[in-house]
């Protein structure tokens, strides 16, 4: 009897997540209808975001926040990927167990810091440094990208480290026994062996960078303009949503749902690509 109850309960919990996913998509899609009818697919390529005087209509296009989101994410990935790989290689192959343990703990703690703290640190401490070294206003694409990179590095490094650690000892030993150097063992044995995990960590970090709101809201400048230089301020989808939600009405609100839908679909596609990649690996 209690077995059946428990079975039903766990079944309900499991299906709930599925319904949540579908439900959220449905809501976004429904509320985005007005904007979809008004602007169609051109919404994605239109740079204007202007409400009418009376706040009832206007022209809304998602091009700038979409570009801002993609560019800040790309900057973050370009910086974070090599550094995270370096950290993972150091932890698994180079550092002594003692140092490796200490650094691992530090990295996991870094991953636990709330993003608003990264945002504040970035704005008050890091942005002036960027301004001094490369110019610009301090806040902007580059600053947001670098701080995003710092936020996703611990995440990427620890997943990559875990998957590198699954390389069987005897496989590494047999490469050394063929006369391979440490570098050759890392390049030819460990990296190919851990490839699935490494790609997975990159894609998951990408998903996180795309959706990050708080830190980017502090750092990207929140200006509705296309960036021409890497230091220019612009905006991103989550930042625009967070900043405008309170005042928006009618069509603007619908346009924001449209934007949210775009972000949802992009993140969903990226994460499921990662999942299926893992899944494909395991099936082998």
């Amino acid at each position: 009897m209690s077995g059946k109850l428990f079975r039903n309960f766990s079944f309900l919990s499991a299906t709930l997540s599925f319904f949540l996913l579908v439900g959220i998509f449905a809501i976004l899609f429904t509320y985005a209808q007005d904007a979809m009818h008004a602007f169609g697919i051109d919404f994605l390529f239109n740079e204007t975001w202007e409400a009418d005087e009376d706040d009832e209509g206007g022209v809304f296009g998602g091009f700038i926040p979409i570009v801002g989101t993609l560019l800040s994410t790309i900057i973050a990935m370009v910086i974070a990927t090599p550094l995270a790989m370096g950290i993972a290689i150091f932890l698994t192959e180079i550092a002594s167990p003692k140092i490796s343990k200490g650094v691992s703990v530090a990295i996991e703690l870094l991953a636990a810091i709330p993003s608003i703290i990264y945002g504040m640190w970035g704005l008050f401490y890091f942005a002036p440094i960027v301004q001094k070294t490369v110019g610009g206003d301090g806040v902007g694409l580059l600053t947001a990208g670098i701080v995003l990179a710092i936020m996703i590095i611990p995440f990427m490094a620890s997943i990559t480290r875990d998957s590198m650690n699954t390389t069987p000892l005897v496989l590494k030993e047999s490469a050394y026994a063929m006369g391979a150097t440490k570098f050759e063992v890392i390049k030819d044995v460990i990296m190919p062996y851990a490839k699935g995990g490494i790609i997975g960590s990159i894609i998951l970090a990408l998903g996180r960078a795309l959706g990050e709101t708080m830190a980017v809201a502090f750092l990207i400048g929140s200006v509705m303009s296309l960036p021409h230089r890497i230091t220019d301020p612009t905006t991103s989808i989550p930042v625009l949503l967070a900043n405008n939600f309170a005042e928006a009405q009618d069509l603007e609100m619908s346009a924001m749902y449209y934007l949210a839908l775009v972000l949802f679909v992009v993140s969903f596609v990226i994460i499921s690509a990662a999942k299926f990649y893992f899944f494909g690996k395991k099936a082998k």
Binding site: E173, S174, A177, M178, G179, P192, K195
Partner: protein, 262 residues
């Protein structure tokens, strides 16, 4: 002595880091050229530890203590005490001369061809035709050429367990080492695959001297020319295989090979 010696272990003691007692005590063991030397003994007797000292693979993990000598005799008659090696380049050279086959098959995550060519490329061979020739020779030598010649570019991970083992042997033989160390090469293999591997080992001894660690006494008696019996970190007896199995000099050896302990 009629047969020349390729490796010579002298008064060799070995201690793992963080342990007080040595795991190997004053071992003396000659490895004869183009012969098969088997090391037998119960689990924990130190036979694998000794094997792993012979190409210094122990040194991937720091802190070991070596005493005594292990001499490797080169083709030109020169001898080198391999325990004195300190530089990475010299380790690489040593491991190309003293190859090792592990308990489990360890194909690298790359194609069959690249697995065999890997050591050759590390050794600096870049010429394509030479690589192809040597890979083919090695695969033929390991008796898997016919099974693999049409799928050299496929991943080695798709091969069966027995094939993977032969691939690993081919990979090691391709480097033309002077000595090849086998650490229980047929553990967990079915009798037919075991037979194939044993046949292969018996064949390659024309080109390379073989040291094999095994739990399987029938295997040692079938395969080897010389046998060393080890117990609790000491070498109890070393002699012709025939003598060890038919007329051992030590009581301990007799007890072990007749299955009275172990």
């Amino acid at each position: 002595m009629a047969e020349s010696i390729v490796m010579d272990v002298r008064d060799f003691s070995f201690t793992y880091p963080g342990v007080e007692k040595p795991s190997l005590k004053k071992i003396n063991l000659p490895i004869k050229e183009n012969k098969i030397t088997a090391m037998i003994g119960p689990s924990g007797c130190g036979k694998s530890t000794l094997l792993r000292a012979m190409n210094r693979i122990h040194d991937l993990y720091p802190g070991n203590t070596y005493e005594g000598e292990i001499n490797l005799y080169k083709a030109n008659g020169e001898k080198e005490n391999i325990l004195k090696i300190k530089k990475e380049n010299d380790f690489i050279r040593l491991r190309q001369e003293v190859g090792m086959i592990f308990q489990k098959p360890t194909p690298f995550p790359m194609s069959i061809f690249d697995n065999v060519a890997y050591g050759l490329r590390l050794a600096g061979i870049k010429n394509k035709t030479e690589l192809q020739d040597r890979v083919e020779t090695a695969l033929k030598g390991a008796a898997i050429w016919n099974e693999t010649k049409d799928r050299l570019n496929e991943s080695a991970l798709g091969m069966s367990g027995g094939q993977q083992r032969r691939l690993c042997i081919a990979r090691a033989v391709a480097l033309k080492p002077r000595v090849l160390l086998f650490d229980e090469p047929t553990s967990a293999l079915d009798p037919i695959s075991t037979g194939a591997i044993e046949e292969l080992i018996a064949e390659i001894k024309d080109e390379v001297s073989v040291v094999i660690v095994t739990h399987n006494m029938q295997q040692a008696s079938r395969l080897s020319d010389y046998t060393a019996f080890m117990y609790l970190g000491e070498l109890i007896e070393y002699d012709d295989t025939e003598k060890i199995f038919l007329n051992p000099g030590e009581k301990l050896t007799e007890d072990y090979i007749t299955g009275r302990f172990g």
